[in-house]
């Protein structure tokens, strides 16, 4: 059962992130800026800030929940950490030492580090050095044979999973002395070196995207471009991998909404639900927005906040093309690029999530709106 709220913010949204109290959202409308919108009432959003520091498109945004900082990375190889001082967001440049574009970013669970995946086939782990008042980066240079498309932190704040366009998913240790030694629990990989590869998963024939850990850190999920999603249980010396092939177009990103349920979003514009049954076998359950079924239409209650809008442009290149194509169901019209949980990080169950998509151009008459949307799930 899904209740969907749709909001439009811009023509295309590259990436987005929610503030800790879920009242504000930071998004990149497919250009070099980051817009921060605040919700004033149910459907009314106001653009509060525009963060303009990058020279090229902003490819990743993450908003830390405890320290209220926004980190943005862009194709111009730079990254900024923005902190709210008074009413303004003040940027701090992070020297990533990258020589290619940065593709993705994520704060670690304790928010003392963040990881950046880049087109330079490296991953940067950045931490704050108190003495110099500076964010410093350490690079994981080895191992990746192609661009790193997605990064995900394990709940223990040390393990990092990465996916790359060489089709492999790898798990590294990002143990940094001085940052991680203070709270090393028993059994945590305190002895592992920084940048040591714990695991390499070669399940996909094609590019890999969208890796995520389950809330307990026991299971890893990532997608491959060959319309497959891979689940790895018991990540460690003897992992148990499962590949689930599904019909239709590949996914771009996944989200664990509980230990046994995953939502995948991608080129189908319709989020897919995968679940593991009691024996631990994962399979595809259903789409969230059914095209013909009235299940999603029946409960359009009004308690849901934010959504990103969808774009109903009707302009097409061919004037003579008859509209023989059936619309892929759901709220989005174009491929969904990211899915973000709405809720406290680290909570075992995610009740709501938002998806954002790249939309089409509007037609000349101005009563079209662009949106990306958010859907919330009642499961």
């Amino acid at each position: 059962m899904a209740v969907v709220d749709v909001h439009r913010f811009a023509e295309s949204i590259t990436c987005h992130a929610w503030s800790p109290d879920l009242s504000m959202v930071a998004l990149c409308p497919n250009n070099t800026e980051v817009h921060i919108y605040k919700s004033l009432s149910q459907d009314h959003w106001e653009r509060l800030h525009v963060l303009q520091k990058h020279d090229q498109i902003v490819s990743g945004i993450d908003w830390s929940s405890k320290s209220n900082k926004i980190v943005t990375v862009s194709h111009d190889r730079n990254s900024y950490v923005w902190s709210l001082e008074g009413a303004e967001w003040v940027p701090t440049l992070v020297i990533l030492r990258l020589n290619r574009a940065a593709l993705c970013v994520q704060w670690s669970p304790k928010e003392n580090k963040f990881a950046v995946g880049s087109g330079a086939k490296t991953v940067c782990i950045c931490y704050y050095e108190q003495e110099n008042n500076w964010w410093v980066s350490k690079l994981i240079r080895k191992r990746h044979e192609s661009s790193v498309t997605s990064v995900a932190w394990h709940p223990n704040n040390v393990l990092l999973a990465t996916t790359s366009t060489d089709g492999k998913c790898r798990v590294f240790s990002t143990f940094i002395k001085g940052v991680d030694t203070k709270d090393s629990k028993a059994g945590s990989p305190a002895e592992t070196k920084f940048g040591e590869q714990i695991l390499q998963l070669d399940l996909s024939y094609s590019w890999a995207f969208g890796v995520k850990w389950s809330p307990s850190g026991n299971t890893l999920a990532y997608v491959g471009h060959s319309s497959m999603i891979y689940f790895v249980d018991d990540v460690g010396p003897s992992p148990l991998a499962q590949s689930v092939a599904f019909r239709d177009l590949p996914l771009r990103d996944v989200l664990f909404i509980s230990e046994k349920m995953v939502i995948g979003v991608g080129y189908d514009s319709n989020p897919m639900v995968f679940a593991a049954d009691d024996t631990g076998i994962w399979s595809f359950i259903r789409y969230i927005g059914e095209k013909k079924a009235a299940s999603s239409g029946s409960s359009y209650s009004s308690q849901f906040s934010e959504a990103f809008g969808k774009f109903y442009g009707s302009q097409s290149k061919s004037t003579t093309a008859n509209d023989a194509s059936d619309s892929r169901g759901g709220v989005h019209d174009n491929s969904i690029t990211s899915i973000v949980p709405l809720g406290k990080g680290g909570s075992p169950k995610v009740m709501r999530f938002s998806t954002s998509a790249l939309c089409r151009m509007s037609s000349p008459d101005n009563n079209h709106r662009n949106e990306c949307y958010i859907s919330t799930n009642l499961k």
Partner: protein, 228 residues
Amino acid sequence: MANSLRLYLACIKNTLEAAMCLQNFPCQEVERHNKPEVELKTSPELLLNPVLICRNEAEKCLIETSINSLRISLKVKQADELENILTKKFLRFLSMRAEAFQVLRRKPVQGYDISFLITNYHCEEMQKQKLIDFIIQFMEDIEKEIRDLKESVNTRGRLVATEFLKQFITNDAIYTEKLNVRHHSSRFSASPSPSLSNFVLRRPGELLQIPAITQLQIENFYGLGNVI
């Protein structure tokens, strides 16, 4: 025959739906650049297997995909020399105006007649389904266009030849089936034998002296009645 066209187009449409999953991807080779990887081909891991769909030996479609771009090359059926020339000229006309089409490539890929280059930016701006419909419609239309052009060339050829040879018709001529007119009237004695090779356009005053031929003879001679 129409059935095989439907199947061919359906196959291409399905392949395009799968292939047109493009995303923004910055260049791995050059910093701050964003290039269509299918044209560059510098990183083989970013390219997918090209798919070749053949309707028959003469008609085929090559679809090459990469992470941020897709290239579709078409080879159009060309049954004879005339269609060859018409296709080349027509498609060259379109390719030179590639900017208006946005997804058209200015030069076709080697071995093909016309190529499209679709990038992730096109997919962001335009609807994917409509792009695919456009390509399929384009393929249908090309076939129709070339056929129409050929018909019009033949029609024009027939009209022009008719008009040209009309000038040789006079009212009081006696004609036989044979094109070599055997009998000359005395008026015509000065003119050379009106064999086929002697259809020389003379000065207007002398036109009447050239032996006349019926309209039917003209058509038969040029074989225009047999042109498709």
